[in-house]
Every structure is written in structure tokens, then in C-alpha cells.
Amino acid sequence: MMPAAQADTSTYAVELTGCTKQFPTPGGETYFAVRDINLKVEPGRFVSIVGPTGSGKSTILNMAAGLLNPSTGDVKSFGEPVSGVNRRASYMFQQDPLLPWKTVLDNVSLGLTMAGVPKAEAHSEARRWLEKVGLKNFADRYPHQLSGGMRKRTAIAQAWIVNPDVLLMDEPFSALDVQTRQIMENELLQLWQESGKAVVFITHDLDEAIALSDEVVILGAGPGSTVVGSYEIDIPRPRDLLDIRDDPQFVALHREIWGRLKIEVSKTYETAMAEEGEVA
């Protein structure tokens, strides 16, 4: 019995159990960013996290990546406790993570060259990825010579090129225009479907979350937010991202999730407005 159960849990690509993260506030108290988070992502699944701003989405991703230690609770990846960085994951940060002293090409090929791939090979692979994100002609630029959206796309290519088992993405497409965004979404889906990766995806766009995911997780209002709902998206794949918004299943799911989310979001705002309530 026991071994079977263990084998079962060990299949999760990312597993957060009862994770709470608190930060000290300037006032000397503790601020609970997230509280008692349980999140299980099987390999091959595409999970989106949505929630009001400041609810702790990035914090969860940081814990999954092993960059932040939960104050309590456990983080596992493929059955192994995550200590130090999660070597099986790649993480696209919300902030700008490009190395300013490397050209776009060197930034993108960084993961490969560090893994020991010969330079020429890494570069040609990087060019392939730059083409995918539409930056082929900007390979020799330095990051400060790019526009905001271009930097984001470079970061995406940088995270994707290493071909990890888990993709952690924090609002990757928010700085892109609609069309470019769709192209990137398609690329992401293709990448994911080809290889059976697990994807944890943060977005503010519920449409995007539903269109792409197998599961949408909703985070409650902070402080001390926790998972308030989880919705299985059973729209059959492959999905046509252009027309999916007219799909009745999509519309129904959207209404349902949006109803729940709205409550949380307005709660956040009310908490912020209320006189008390800084610390949970």
C-alpha cells in the first residue's frame, strides 16, 4: 500500500503541500504573503494561476523554483524535495532578467552554453528560437537597445531553449500586442504538446488562462491568500486559439470562473481600502 501511494505522489512535477510564506514588515510584524498553499501539477499538465494583483502568484512560483523557502510546508518536484534551485524547471521571471552585458544571442544561448553545448551549436539553436519569437534580426543587440516587448520575448526564448521538464512562467505575454501574443501562445502550446512538459503559467488575462490550460487555479485576495478554487478546463485539444472565445464551453467556464474571481478581486480592493487589516 505505502509504496504505491508514494509512487503516486512522486509523479507530480511540482507539488506544494501546505506552503505558507511570511515576510517581516517594516513595522516589525509579519506579513503573510500566501498561506497553506496546496498545488499539485502532474507532468504534461498545463496549469494557470490567476488572482488579484499582490495575491502571491509570483511567491508561489518562486517557491516552486526553489528560489524562496516556504516558511512552513514542503515543496517537491518529481518526488524530490526542492532544496536550492529546482534543476528540472525553467523560470521566466516577471522582472527583466536579461544579462545587460550579453547580446540577445548570447543571452538566449546562455542555458545551452552553460550546459556544455559547443558555442556554434548553441548559437544556431538560439537563432532558431529567436526566429520563433520574431527577433531574428536583433541577435546582436544588447538588451538596453530593445523595446520592452522585445526584452520579454528574449527572456521567453532564454527560458524555453533549455527544454526543461517544468516551465514556470510569470506573466510572459503581458507586454505584447494581441497578435504577437497569439503567435507566442501558439508556440508555447506546441512546445508543451510536443514534449509532455508541465507548465505553471501566471496571467491576468482569464481568457488566456482558459484558452491555454488544463486547469485554472484561482488565488484569493491577500494578505494571507490561499487557493480558493480550481477549475478543470475540459475543452478538447487541439484548440483554435483564435475562435475559442466563441466556444460555448469556453463562455460557460469563463462566466463561472470570472464570477469567483470577481469576488476575490473586489475583496482585495476592499481590504486595501479598509482602515485596518494590514497584517493578517
Binding site: 523554483a65 529546482n86 523560470y91 552585458w101 542555458g111
Partner: protein
């Protein structure tokens, strides 16, 4: 609408406009800059010369610039100064290289291993405050009268400057960059190479700019305290016989050498930091 602006497809005109505007807003050409510097130098030297001749400044302490140059010329033309210069340069360059290398190494290690930093920081601070001149006998004891005692002298100056700056430079690296590199699979060594060193490079160069001067100072002071050759020795001897001209001539030659070295360091810096946005205003 200006004439230039109305030439819709006038690429040369547009370029022209851009250049003109840039030139107006900022930079002097390197040549003009050099001339200004030369003028400034000449003005200062001229004022000096005049005030000595007028007796306002005492020639005993501040010889005539023209006399200094004559001495420099005599030293150079007779070849007298070159063996001395060669020895001083050897010492300074060795002190600079060894000191910078050790400072970099320890700086990186201590920045990465916080335990070591906390442990060793007070000791390093203490040693940095030791007056090197007092230690001269010990340096002579350990390193002999040759160039190595002077190298050690310069080392103790260069090392601390480079060390403290490297330490701080590495510690102030943007965390997101480090995290990102680690997520991409960087080992500690790769982190160093791809993130810490490039990021700390402005810091390191700042310390190198400072320590070029200190390396030479160290070598000269070392010679000054005991040697049989080197510019410091030549200066010490001149000073011993009240030959102020000789003292200034020696210092002048040092200055020129530093200028040349600094030019090289600047060039290297510009090359290694070419990724930085061009600063304007």
C-alpha cells in the same frame, strides 16, 4: 517645419541633422580636449615659472619648471633613467597584477561565502590600517633587497583597494540576474563568469583606476626606503643632496608613465564595458 525635416526621404540630410545636434549638445573632440589639457598644463607651469622667477615661490623647494625639464631631458638623453624606470615598472606591474589578482580572488570568495566574509572582515580591516612604511624592515627580511620587497609593498596597497571594491561589487549584483542564471543551470563557477564578474566589472575597474597609481606609489616608496636602483632610488638620492630638480624630474617621469598606463586601462575598460548604454547628459 524646418528645411531638413521636410525632406521626407533625405537620408543624408537626416543623418547630418542628427550629427549636428549631437555635436552641439555634447562632446568636444578628443583632439580639442587634448589641446585644452595641454593649455591648462602650460598655464600652470607658466605661472609656476613666473612666480619662481619673481621670487614669490622659493626655488629651493620648487625649482623652475624649465630646469626640471632640462633635468628630465638630461636623464632621458643620457639614458640614465631607463634602467631605473625599467625596474620600477617591473615592480609596479607585478604589484598591480599580483595585488589585483589576489584582491579579486578573495573578493569573489568572500562575497559568495558569507561566513568567511563575516569571519575575516575585521582582520582585513585591521591589516589595511597597518602603516606599510613601518613594515619595511619585515618586508626586507622576508623578500630581500631586490624587487620583491617593493612588489610586496605595492601589493599591500593594491590588494585592499581591489578586494574591498570587488567584495562590494559582487554583493550588489542584481538578484534577479543571479536567480535567472541559476535557474538556467549555472554552476558556481559559471555564475562567477557570466554574472558576477561582468556585473562587478565597473567596480573592479574603478578599483583598478585607483590602484594603478597606488602600485607605482608602492614601488617607489619601497625603493625609497632601501634599494640600489629604481626611480624611487633616484629620487631619494636627489633629495639627499638637495637636488630638488632631480626630485621633480623623477616625479614627472612617473607621471608620464602613469598617464600612458591609464590610457591603456581606459581602453581596456571601454572594450569590456562596451555593452553599457552610451551616457549622455
Amino acid at each position: 517645419m524646418t528645411l531638413v525635416g521636410s525632406k521626407k526621404n533625405g537620408l543624408p540630410a537626416a543623418l547630418d541633422g542628427g550629427t549636428r545636434r549631437r555635436a552641439r549638445r555634447t562632446e568636444m573632440s578628443p583632439l580639442a580636449m587634448r589641446s585644452t589639457q595641454l593649455l591648462l598644463t602650460l598655464a600652470v607651469l607658466g605661472a609656476w615659472e613666473l612666480s619662481v622667477r619673481a621670487g614669490i615661490v622659493d626655488e629651493f623647494f620648487f625649482p623652475l619648471p624649465s630646469d626640471i625639464f632640462q633635468t628630465v631631458w638630461a636623464w632621458v638623453s643620457s639614458g640614465f633613467v631607463f634602467p631605473h624606470l625599467w625596474i620600477t615598472m617591473q615592480e609596479a606591474i607585478l604589484a598591480f597584477l599580483v595585488g589585483a589578482a589576489a584582491g579579486l580572488l578573495l573578493g569573489f570568495v568572500l562575497a559568495r561565502v558569507r561566513f568567511l566574509e563575516r569571519l575575516l572582515d575585521p582582520f582585513l580591516q585591521m591589516f589595511n590600517a597597518l602603516p606599510r612604511v613601518v613594515l619595511a624592515p619585515i618586508f626586507l627580511l622576508w623578500f630581500g633587497l631586490g624587487i620583491w620587497s617593493k612588489v610586496a609593498f605595492g601589493f599591500t596597497l593594491v590588494f585592499f583597494i581591489v578586494f574591498f571594491n570587488t567584495l562590494e561589487g559582487v554583493k550588489s549584483v542584481d538578484r534577479v540576474l543571479v536567480d535567472n542564471a541559476r535557474m538556467l543551470g549555472a554552476s558556481e563557477k559559471q555564475l562567477l563568469r557570466h554574472v558576477f564578474i561582468p556585473s562587478a566589472l565597473t567596480w573592479i575597474f574603478s578599483s583598478l583606476h585607483i590602484s594603478v597609481g597606488f602600485a607605482i606609489t608602492g614601488a617607489v616608496v619601497g625603493e625609497y626606503l632601501g634599494a640600489s636602483a629604481g626611480v624611487g632610488y633616484a629620487i631619494a638620492q636627489a633629495q639627499g643632496v638637495f637636488d630638488t630638480k632631480g626630485v621633480f624630474a623623477g616625479m614627472f617621469i612617473l607621471m608620464i608613465v602613469v598617464l600612458i598606463i591609464d590610457l591603456l586601462v581606459n581602453r581596456l575598460e571601454r572594450h569590456l564595458l562596451r555593452w553599457r548604454p552610451v551616457q549622455s547628459s
